[in-house]
Symmetry: C2
Subunit: 168 residues, 2 copies
DNA sequence: CCGAAATACTTGAGCGTTCAATTGTATGGC
DNA sequence: GCCATACAATTGAACGCTCAAGTATTTCGG
């Protein structure tokens, strides 16, 4: 391997600040959601994603792909969420490998109850502190990272027929 | 609570991209470090922080503060790292509540061995994809978040007497 | 000084994530 | 049609993190 090119001062400071911020951000969101709704952030995202899908259902694989989650992680999560009645799982007729996950009315209720507090927290720790310009910058930076971290990154766009909308 | 102000399109897209990116970034760093050195990213950060401290030692509380880690988390981590001989813990003479953590030569070796691969990965997924300007933007955005997430945020500056430098 | 409160850290249970292995099902080559 | 391969999802163990509770020590008010 070639000689390591260490981070210069600017990079170092950006990196450290970024790491700390992300670390704390994640903790804050998770804590707020867990406290107010009993859901970890990752589980909230599952419900949110389902709520926007046509018929509020997706295959496990599609859902995992959208959330950039491993199949295993999703499977474990689905087990809990199904046990609590927030989602339902059933095999797709015609391909018995495929499992379809559907958001139940109970799950939708939980999501809708959790959404306002969550959005409030996202605003508090992120958007309220950033200018409109910084939001655009953050988006470009994030997409830049995604181009490396997830080159295949498709982001299927639904017409959002009757999901509850921009709750995340 | 007042009517919820949902995220507008720009915010929504920035937020989603940011979430995915951070999620994948964290996974990538953790995977690389675990694979190449057996250390989770959080543990690597502990060693890195210690390596920069005077005499390569800090109290548990100071270390936790610097890493924005809970005392509990650090305590668990220290137990494992000590068990593997990478750090050493001892009581401070004069205040028997206080525990001092010291990076051992063995711990420093592990850190130095892990550093190049880690920095390479950080470059690959972050700095290589960003312009110099974007790095500055990311830093400001991060510090903006920190002002809310960690208002007390002191960042003690050591003269870096003989830590191995900018390995993180 | 004495007891209450603060400080410093540790512990154990519960939980989500990861990784590797496993099961079951569909498909493509021949 | 058959078998190897790919695909879809699940499982269980290991492990790090969180939270709440606990231990030990020090400080501080009256």
């Amino acid at each position: 391997m070639a000689e390591t090119r260490w981070l210069d001062d600017g990079e170092q400071q950006a990196w450290r600040a970024f790491l700390m911020a992300v670390n704390l951000l994640d903790g804050a969101l998770d804590r707020q959601l867990r406290h107010d709704s009993g859901l970890p952030h990752a589980y909230y995202q599952i419900l949110a994603m389902l709520s926007e899908a046509p018929k509020r259902e997706l295959t496990m694989t599609a859902l995992a792909r959208l959330l950039r989650s491993s199949p295993s992680r999703l499977s474990h999560a689905a087990a809990r969420l199904e046990g609590e009645g927030m989602i339902r799982r059933f095999k797709r007729p015609g391909d018995r490998r495929t499992t379809i996950v559907e958001l139940t009315p109970a799950g939708l209720k939980v999501l809708e109850a959790a959404a306002p507090g969550h959005v409030h927290e996202v605003r508090r720790v992120l958007f309220d502190t950033l200018s409109r310009e910084q939001v655009a910058q953050l988006r470009e930076i994030s997409e830049s990272m995604l181009s490396v971290l997830d080159p295949q990154g498709e982001e299927p766009r639904y017409p959002d027929p009757d999901g509850i909308g921009s709750q995340d």
